[in-house]
């Protein structure tokens, strides 16, 4: 314990130099900005910034402080467009639209922005504390999580899909299945066989998440607004009450639960912030099901996914720093940054380069405080986005979305595909088919297939081995409960429920 404190102290001496403070601040601003923009994610931003770090001859700890700030800063930005425009800027902010946008329509956009900013800060900071003290043992536990355990975890996450859909569970399930189907497009990782590519070269690599999300949410929403002649649906900068202290306290338990869920999911290599925010939101919704406020603008429904998102992002850095194993694409690029500086990422990082490892951890305490201070006063300015005339705002958003999609792939085909998904999103909105389960099915479906395959080929096709570990048994029991719980009213005779 004392050792950790002195190491962390050493880290602060690195992080508190004027240059590193300035770089953390710069990273926070860039991160928030790319979080806001649909299409451009932290992965691309970091990969593009890395050559600049080398060209400017930044020392490795400074480069990592900047790049990591971009990474966790992006977790603060995704919520802004999700709440105000119903268009998530980041994959993990998809869940934030569910309660955030209704709040904005009620004129409480500022309150939703404030609580999500505070939630992001709580989730990230508590996770950095956990990471400072428990990094190595946590990472050891994380690698012992077997493919069979992942299958159970993803099955559990999928079983909660029905809860995301609003009124109609069957529609949510159907949407989730559609998402899983879309995830199957492309070259199959197990056998190299092409699936659903229709002979198209562009589809060989599968459908990019950005294309799907930008299409369904940004383009679909704009099509609907055009149809309603921009009158009815859009959120207004109302005179709704600002966030009160009482509401903050009310949301605090939800934030703490979300931090726990988010951090644990984040530490597991391969699971990500999207899974964390989905699990956290659905769990919170189930917990308060009887109140019936989720999906209609419940502040806890905003706080929960945003907290879990940031907690998972920090958790993702745990296996990266303590074992040298990337938990996601973005952390893989961060690891690549270490390599560029001739630092071998791996279990020896903390002993060989404590300045880099602890300097980074210390900078994350500072960076998250900066992000909170940066974000809270700006809430009012962000909310003013809604006062921009629609004829400026929506074409602008559309242009940025297209630029984002094109920047990732340089492919006109992806733009057409995004428009296709936009039409789909518009139709589904009219048919009251929820869009969030499509996106979650897309993310989870791919992970489910990969892990199920791994588990079965490791067990030589023996299905029973999916249920060997205590972790997977517990998760499967929870899955079963989650699936059967909504049916209890039908299973138990009506009188019994009434009496």
């Amino acid at each position: 314990m004392m050792e950790t404190f002195s190491a962390l102290g050493g880290g602060f001496t690195v992080a508190l130099t004027p240059m590193n403070l300035a770089l953390a601040f710069l990273g926070c601003i860039i991160g928030t900005a790319i979080g806001v923009l649909p299409g451009i994610g932290p992965l691309n931003a970091i990969a593009l910034l890395l050559p600049f770090c080398l060209a400017l001859r930044l020392p490795p700890e400074s480069a990592l402080i900047l790049l990591a700030a971009v990474y966790y800063g992006s977790g603060y930005g995704g919520r802004i467009t999700a709440i105000l425009l119903n268009m998530p800027g980041e994959p993990s902010a998809v869940l934030t639209t569910l309660d955030g946008h209704p709040l904005a329509k009620q004129g409480r956009g500022s309150a939703a922005l404030a609580i999500s900013g505070i939630g992001s800060f709580v989730g990230a900071t508590l996770s950095v504390i956990l990471m400072s003290f428990l990094s190595v043992p946590l990472a050891r536990i994380a690698v012992s999580f077997s493919p069979a355990d992942y299958v159970a975890l993803i099955a559990f996450a999928l079983s909660l899909l029905g809860a995301v859909g609003g009124a109609s569970a069957p529609k949510a399930w159907a949407a989730g299945c559609l998402g899983i189907l879309l995830a199957l497009v492309g070259v199959d990782s197990g056998t190299g066989v092409e699936r659903f590519t229709a002979g198209s070269i562009e589809l060989l690599g599968g459908i990019d998440f950005t294309v799907l999300a930008v299409g369904l949410f940004a383009i679909g929403e704009i099509l609907l607004l055009i149809e309603t002649k921009l009158r009815t649906e859009a959120a207004k900068l109302g005179k709704g009450q600002r966030l009160t202290f009482r509401e903050l306290v009310f949301c605090l338990p939800a934030m703490l639960r979300a931090t726990g869920i988010g951090f644990v999911i984040g530490v597991l290599p391969g699971a990500g912030a999207s899974v964390a925010s989905a699990l956290s939101y659905t769990a919170e919704k189930r917990l308060h099901e009887s109140e019936g406020t989720f999906g209609k603008g419940d502040l806890r429904g905003v706080a929960s996914p945003e907290t879990a998102d940031n907690a998972a992002q920090i958790g993702n850095l745990v296996p990266m720093l303590s074992l040298g194993i990337p938990g996601s694409g973005t952390t893989a690029v961060l690891l690549g940054a270490l390599l560029m500086y001739n630092i071998t990422p791996g279990p020896l990082l903390f002993t060989q380069r404590p300045d880099v490892a602890w300097g980074l951890i210390a900078s994350m305490y500072i960076g998250n405080a900066m992000l909170l201070l940066l974000n809270l006063p700006l809430v009012g300015i962000f909310a003013r986005l809604l006062t921009v005339p629609a004829w400026v705002l929506y074409p602008g958003v559309l242009a940025l979305s297209f630029a984002g999609v094109y920047a990732v792939s340089n492919s006109a085909f992806d733009l057409l595909m995004a428009i296709g998904f936009g039409v789909m999103g518009w139709l589904f909105r009219k048919l009251d088919v929820p869009l969030v389960p499509i996106v979650l099915g897309f993310v989870l479906g791919r992970m489910l297939e990969d892990n199920l395959r791994r588990a079965l080929s490791l067990s030589d096709g023996n299905v029973a081995e999916l249920l060997v570990s205590p972790v997977s048994i517990a998760l499967w029991v929870m899955t079963l409960v989650a699936v059967l719980w909504p049916l209890r009213a039908r299973l138990v005779p009506r009188r019994a429920v009434a009496s």
Partner: protein, 327 residues
């Protein structure tokens, strides 16, 4: 730094003058296409090479890196063949993995004869990794176990069955006289996750790349049974024997290089070949290359073309042998 570059440039002046004058070609708005998202191997090849070519002054105009993900290079090769068959200003990053894809027909109808092979800038090498407490102490131990029960050693790496990661394991199996189709191979998303599964005890062997395994190896978390190189690797990895030393004919350099469009004019082709030749001979190059986890592998022009074609033919044969392609 700058002065060193200048000195180096002046030392190479006769060659430089020759290269610049060869056909009088100077690229305009040159571009390097990385057939994958930012951060991957193709991307690193492009950015490293472009930066160093510009920094050393070998190529004057700034080289832009363009990411074109899709099918691990399939989209890029189709783009080049469909729209830019004669473009003198574009080079495309390529690796051993692309040769595997050409051999197994994953690049559509385009193969090794549909591009102009410019040169290689470096290589990574396959390694056979096991956990520190593994019962296998040498490659012979592992091969004995595979011979006794080919499906008894669960293994995994970053690519699918038929990918370059899988081929590393297949080469070892074949050298042992074991049918690669009977191995129990599990694909993961990248070598990092395969190493996590190795540390977690879910798989017993991971045929990953030397650059991926180095950190865990230096920390004593994993043991490396063999490097799939012709000679031992430098640095901390020099204690690891080659497969050949242990009596198994399995070599697997992951060669990283570039190709140009199929009808790139000779003047442009010679310009780029010379540019890579001068880059790999530059005094600043070895450090920059090593920082990317790449070992020395300098081969340009006709020799590189011969290697690309020979390797692709070999993989085609291997893929046929193990039933991955039907023709």
């Amino acid at each position: 730094m700058y002065r060193r570059a200048l000195l180096a440039a002046s030392a190479l002046l006769p060659a430089a003058a020759q290269a610049q004058n060869a056909g009088g070609f100077t690229p305009q708005n040159p571009e390097c296409i990385a057939g994958a998202a930012p951060g991957g191997g193709f991307d690193i090849s492009c950015r490293l090479t472009a930066r160093m070519l510009n920094e050393t002054g070998i190529v004057g105009p700034s080289i832009r890196t363009q990411n074109m993900p899709g099918g691990i290079g399939a989209v890029a090769i189709n783009h080049i063949n469909a729209q830019r068959r004669t473009d003198p200003n574009v080079i495309v990053a390529v690796s051993t993995g692309s040769w595997v894809n050409m051999a197994t027909g994953r690049f559509g109808r385009f193969g090794e004869n549909d591009v102009r092979w410019i040169g290689a800038i470096g290589a990574d090498y396959g390694v056979i990794a096991v956990k520190k407490d593994s019962p296998y102490a040498t490659l012979t131990d592992l091969v004995t176990a595979l011979r006794a029960n080919p499906g008894g050693v669960p293994m995994g790496a970053g690519g699918a069955v038929g990918s370059q990661d899988w081929t590393k394991a297949a080469l070892v199996a074949r050298a042992a006289g074991v049918d690669p189709r009977r191995m129990r191979y599990v694909p993961f998303e990248g070598g990092g996750q395969a190493l996590a599964a190795l540390l977690g005890g879910h798989i017993q062997m991971a045929p990953v790349d030397a650059s991926e395994a180095r950190g865990q190896f230096e920390a004593g978390e994993i043991r490396l049974l063999a490097v799939l190189a012709a000679e031992r690797l430098p640095g901390t990895l020099s204690s690891v024997p080659t497969a050949k030393e242990q009596g198994f004919d399995a070599e697997w350099p992951i060669v990283r290089g570039f190709y140009g469009p199929p009808q790139m004019p000779d003047a442009a082709y010679n310009f780029w070949v010379n540019a890579l030749r001068r880059l790999t001979a530059h005094p600043d190059w070895p450090d920059q290359r090593a920082a990317q986890g790449l070992f020395e592998f300098n081969l340009v022009g006709a020799e590189y073309e011969a290697l690309a074609k020979r390797r692709t033919a070999e993989f085609r044969q291997l893929a046929r042998d193990v039933g991955l392609v039907s023709q």
